[in-house]
Symmetry: C2
Subunit: 172 residues, 2 copies
């Protein structure tokens, strides 16, 4: 299964940390790539590329200008995460059958059209919380916790789990 | 089981959104209360209290001045979430046996002492991502997905899941 993430309406100053978290969660929880629209942000892109270079894998980040066309033309199913949607627990078996998924995460205000052009509107609880948390839970459930076992290829930095303190192996 | 969250070293300007997300995730994923240290932040506290008032439940937020003493004196086990720790999957059965848990989430720089005074240092993947995501995954696994079913008491706003669009029931 291939999962892509689409982060809507990034604002360079206000969202820099939240969007960075979204991208890093996408990567760590095994999405292939994160697309984003709103402000094009070189700093954000460079930060993510730098993590990929050091921690491995092939995760990519790409700016999209026309979000509506992008969603419409994506050749897979489109799952929009929103607190107003159907609980993931009720739809997960159905969603897992698809080979290619675009997970759409918004920020505070998401236009009505996103609800309409998505194939699924899915909630991770019906409470206000965080698009970062919603994305992590969605990916964890879709990949059945595989992120805990996964090893990224070509990692220059590898963390060796410790009861206390930090152990890092570095290679060039 | 009672779970409390401790958010370390909040910085009023820089962390306002990330700490807000941590608090909302704590509430939505069934922690009792979030403590935080660093800058005391009335705006943050009011925002969270306002969500509780509208969406129900008894979640609380409380400022702590002396983080070290607070952790040391907490009468339950202390679980620090860090990418350097032992994977949650390896320790979850052990952790679930305890009645009272303090989950500690840091920001970028966490002093060595936190690793030492915690009973467990636990990783949610060995990759850099987000304390918000780590917290959500930890709580989801500890409570076995109960957050999807849970209904908060005394909610003035209730969301009715929809395939498309938003349905909200409001009461006074």
């Amino acid at each position: 299964m291939e999962v892509y993430v689409f982060r809507l309406f990034h604002r360079k100053e206000r969202d820099k940390r939240v969007t960075t978290h979204c991208a890093l969660v996408s990567r760590a929880f095994l999405a292939k790539k994160m697309f984003y629209c709103g402000d094009k942000d070189e700093n954000l892109e460079n930060k993510i590329k730098d993590v990929v270079k050091r921690f491995g894998g092939n995760f990519e980040i790409e700016y999209v200008k026309d979000w509506k066309n992008f969603i419409k033309n994506f050749n897979g199913i489109k799952v929009h995460l929103t607190m107003y949607g159907i609980p993931l627990t009720k739809k997960i078996d159905e969603i897992k059958k698809f080979e290619k998924i675009l997970v759409i995460v918004g920020s505070e205000k998401v236009p009505k059209e996103v609800y309409e052009i998505s194939d699924y509107n899915i909630s991770i609880t019906l409470q206000p919380h965080s698009e970062i948390a919603a994305l992590a839970i969605f990916l964890d459930k879709i990949f059945e916790g595989k992120e805990f076992e996964y090893e990224f290829e070509n990692a220059k930095i590898k963390i060796i789990p410790q009861e206390r303190g930090k152990k890092v192996v570095k290679s060039e």
